[in-house]
């Protein structure tokens, strides 16, 4: 790598880093993405609410407000072009106390100021008519039709695959150790390579302050804020049609209850600032809190149908807003906490503009903006599914019973560009092991497929990392 000078090195292969890489490939630029883990989507992007927010939460005038609303509007187009599941299921912010109704109005006003469309304040009865499982405590709600749900894994993977297909180079297991600037060129040293580049794009999530500190003392600080979640079986997925948020009360910010784009039910998160950026442990208190608080807005959540719980870590910035700016060829995309997933498409576009303003690249005439995902056999019609299996018999061999994922889909996940090398990698690409038995039945078989494809013994196949 010593002689090559990249136009841009993106640090971090989360949703923001991968989206940035993809947007940069619209231009005649050489781009490297360096990632400390062995796969994309290994940090904040893999453990969050999976919501495409409408944009009524952020304070008007902030980058959060701007990119969230913009990102939300881009999602239909992006989900089509990148072939990822996205559903505008709508959202409700429910009010549990009459005294809090003015807060609902404030949220509404913010939404209007931010340019969110279709917002409406409705009564508790109207809310319950739309969502029969809402509790009787609810006295009013803000209804937002443009809110949606997405698969954050597939979104990140799709961005990465499309970037890769258009020529971005990905370097995994490369943790950045130092960055220095000599003249116009940055040198980024990782645990295994040295990259020279004209620009650096810092998408390092909870570590974005640490990465920034490699060139200068940052004027911001990132606190890791932990959020715990419960995920329920698909048989509970229909409990609500829309995402149900709570108006923040003196008791706290509240938790959400939402269908996922795959038909499960997600409940969470907690919010707790933590010392270690690596602390993704769930806690008894956290999980108990979620159960208790969610029950305030949605009745009869069948907690006996929980199939897993997990913790995500959000990059909370001391400035309260996203930090996205170019300082002398070093672009920060830092402090990307919620609504980061929703904002990622717009952030990436903006970062690409910042790069273009500096490097003035030509358009990439060969840019291929569409990506086809791995076929989801379980979601096809009988005829489509039959035709695909006739063509590729391994699509007829079911490996993951719960999600009905075939051997063919798993092999696709491993064999594609930036393919899976771990059990979690397979799970995030095709959902094998994501169901109610949580990989009990399919993991020995998936391990065997990974071992065969990677040419390693079964006992060396890792869950992650």
């Amino acid at each position: 790598m010593d002689n090559k000078i990249f136009d841009a090195v993106v640090i971090g292969a989360g949703v923001v880093g991968c989206a940035c890489a993809r947007e940069l490939m619209r231009y005649d630029l050489s781009v490297a993405v360096v990632e400390r883990e062995s796969d994309v989507c290994e940090g904040t992007s893999k453990a969050n609410s999976a919501i495409i927010h409408a944009g009524f939460d952020a304070v008007p005038g902030t980058l959060k407000a701007r990119f969230n609303v913009q990102g939300n509007k881009m999602m239909d187009d992006i989900s089509r072009k990148l072939d990822i599941p996205f559903k505008r299921c709508g959202a409700m912010v429910v009010c549990l106390d009459e005294n809090d109704i003015p807060k609902l109005q404030t949220i509404y006003d913010r939404g209007i100021a931010n340019g969110v469309e279709g917002l409406k304040i409705i009564t508790g009865d109207e809310a319950r008519a739309l969502e029969p499982s809402l509790s009787n405590n609810i006295c009013a709600a803000l209804y937002s039709p443009t809110s949606g749900i997405v698969c954050p894994f597939e979104m990140t993977i799709a961005y990465a695959e499309n970037a890769c297909e258009n020529g971005a180079e990905f370097f995994f297991r490369n943790e950045v150790r130092s960055i220095r600037k000599d003249g116009d060129i940055y040198t980024v040293e990782t645990t295994s390579e040295t990259f020279r580049t004209k620009m650096v794009i810092n998408c390092a999530g909870v570590y974005s302050d640490d990465v920034h500190a490699m060139i200068e003392k940052p004027d911001f600080e990132i606190t890791a804020r932990k959020g715990e979640y419960l995920l329920l079986d698909k048989s509970a997925g229909g409990l609500t049609k829309a995402t149900i948020f709570q108006v923040p009360t003196k008791m706290g910010k509240g938790v959400l209850v939402s269908p996922t784009v795959h038909g499960n039910l997600i409940v969470g998160p907690t919010a707790e600032d933590i010392e270690s950026k690596e602390d993704v442990a769930t806690t008894k208190d956290g999980l108990d809190t979620i159960r208790r608080v969610a029950a305030l807005s949605v009745s009869d959540i069948p907690y006996n149908k929980v199939i897993t719980s997990f913790t995500g870590v959000r990059a909370t910035s001391s400035t309260g807003d996203f930090i996205i700016r170019n300082t002398d060829g070093f672009i920060d995309a830092a402090g990307i906490e919620s609504p980061g997933l929703s904002s990622a498409p717009a952030i990436a576009q903006y970062v690409a503009e910042l790069v273009c303003a500096e490097l003035h690249p030509q358009k990439n005439g060969g840019f291929k903006e569409e990506r086809r995902g791995i076929p989801k056999l379980a979601h096809l019609s009988f005829e489509e599914r039959k035709a695909l299996i006739d063509e590729r018999p391994d699509y007829g061999q079911i490996v993951c019973r719960c999600e009905q994922i075939s051997e063919g889909e798993i092999l696709d996940a491993i064999r594609r560009p930036l393919g899976a090398t771990t059990l979690d990698g397979v799970k995030r690409r095709v959902r094998a092991g994501m169901g109610r038995c949580q990989a009990g039945f399919c993991s020995p078989r998936v391990i065997e497929l990974l071992a065969n494809e990677l040419g390693i013994p079964q006992w060396e196949v890792k869950k992650n990392g």
């Binding site: 008894k284 061999q397 020995p444």
Partner: protein, 421 residues
């Protein structure tokens, strides 16, 4: 559309026993769909002995027990298709099945027997807090790795839950050179059979800590250790009793759940206690011509009982088919209600007008009962009272009610009573 008299979903012990008996009862056009590459189900990974004492009056390993039924299935010329996964069943008994060889198709059946077995309760459903590293497996998954794939998933092992597979795996991992540090059980009694406690733990000096559970899991990529605490009567951890065990493997043996997603989607009523279909004495579900048996119906302790039950399902399905799908007029159905100390009964409905066999009533008790009696009553009349030295939730109880006794009976209740006959 292909058509068969009898479609059996699952080629484990339940499916095979049902097929054999249906064939012997005169049904020729049978197909078994098995999702694995061979018949036998979970028995194929149960290489320990202890199977078959009731059925064959000798002690067999799992694969040997399965082999006996595979032999009968083949000798009777029963058609089976492996690598075949049933994706859905409609209420009019159209079965959608997929396989590598035959692709995706819909098969119509006169009768269907559900024999899909059960799955293990995973970590997520147990709500154990902590990290999510590599090294946490359900006991059955580890068993598959060790016995079928030929590699051992770890060296320093803690087992949570004293279900039979966990006990068996404590011994198995020990024999493979791993150090099993302890088996922790949330309840004040074991979840497995007494003989397995003796043969798998006591014989190898593996401690069993009752009323203990895992409250934290450490390790980012690979499991580093777990924290175990004692729990009080209410199941809540007792502060100050925490003990840390370093380990690279945590095996979970915390209960089995009948796999009834196919059944629910077909519109079959599920019993919330067993998580299996509600069935009558013919083992028929609320949908005419769909029967259930084995661990998909309720979780059994012994495969011998699965075979016996499934044979009955096979005979009853055969009867149904021979009657042209017409049910005998169910003039007189009585309900079987679990009373004091009884969690559930199978069956929960008996058609007393058309009894062809004595009724095998199987159930589990709620707690440990010493010197108590099983009492079956209709109204104030006692139909059966049997004293038992000990009854435990982990061992299924079984009473046989003579059909003559039931023909004039009303609804019946099964209870555990102090003392008794």
């Amino acid at each position: 559309m292909d058509k068969h008299s009898l479609v059996i979903i699952g080629g484990g012990p339940a499916g095979m026993a049902a097929a054999v008996e249906a064939k012997k009862s005169g049904i020729d056009d049978i197909v078994i769909y098995e999702r694995d590459t061979q018949l036998g189900g979970i028995l194929n990974q149960c290489i320990h002995n202890g199977f078959g004492l009731h059925t064959f009056k000798e002690e067999l390993t799992g694969p040997e027990y399965a082999g006996r039924f595979i032999g009968q299935t083949e000798a009777l010329g029963i058609h089976y298709e492996t690598g075949s996964m049933v994706l859905s069943i409609s209420s009019d008994k159209k079965v959608t099945v997929v396989s590598r060889e035959k692709g995706l198709r819909v098969v119509e059946a006169d009768a269907v027997i559900l024999a899909m077995g059960c799955r293990e309760r995973p970590r997520g459903a147990l709500n154990i807090p902590g990290m999510r590293p590599q090294g946490i497996y359900t006991a059955g998954t580890a068993q598959k790795m060790v016995n079928c794939e030929g590699w051992v998933p770890g060296k320093e092992v803690v087992i949570l839950g004293s279900g039979d597979i966990g006990l068996i795996m404590a011994r198995r991992m020990t024999l493979e050179g791993a150090h099993v540090k302890l088996v922790a059980e949330l309840m004040p009694y074991s979840g497995g059979l007494k003989r397995n406690i003796v043969q798998c733990l006591d014989d190898y000096n593996i401690p069993l800590k009752l009323s203990h559970t895992v409250v934290d899991i450490k390790g980012k990529r690979r499991l580093e250790g777990v924290t175990i605490t004692e729990v009080g009567k209410n199941g809540a951890p007792i502060p100050g009793t925490e003990e840390y065990y370093s380990c690279d493997t945590l095996l979970l043996s915390c209960g089995l759940i009948p796999e009834n997603e196919l059944s629910s989607n077909a519109g079959i009523t599920i019993n919330n206690t067993t998580n299996g279909p509600v069935v009558d004495d013919r083992l028929e579900t609320n949908i005419d011509g769909i029967f259930a048996c084995g661990n998909v119906l309720h979780v059994h302790d012994l495969v011998d009982f699965v075979s016996e039950e499934s044979g009955r399902a096979g005979r009853n399905a055969a009867e149904y088919i021979k009657n042209g799908g017409r049910k005998e007029n169910s003039a007189k159905c009585i309900n079987v209600t679990p009373g004091n100390g009884v969690r559930y009964t199978v069956p929960s409905v008996i058609d007393t007008a058309n009894l062809t066999e004595n009724i095998h009533l199987r159930f589990r008790v709620r707690d440990v009962y010493k010197g108590c009696s099983i009492e079956v009553k209709t109204g104030s009349e006692t139909l059966l009272c049997r004293k038992k030295k000990i009854m435990v939730p982990s061992e299924m109880e079984d009473v046989i009610l003579k059909k003559e006794l039931l023909s004039a009976s009303g609804d019946i209740t099964v209870s555990i009573t102090e003392g008794g006959a």
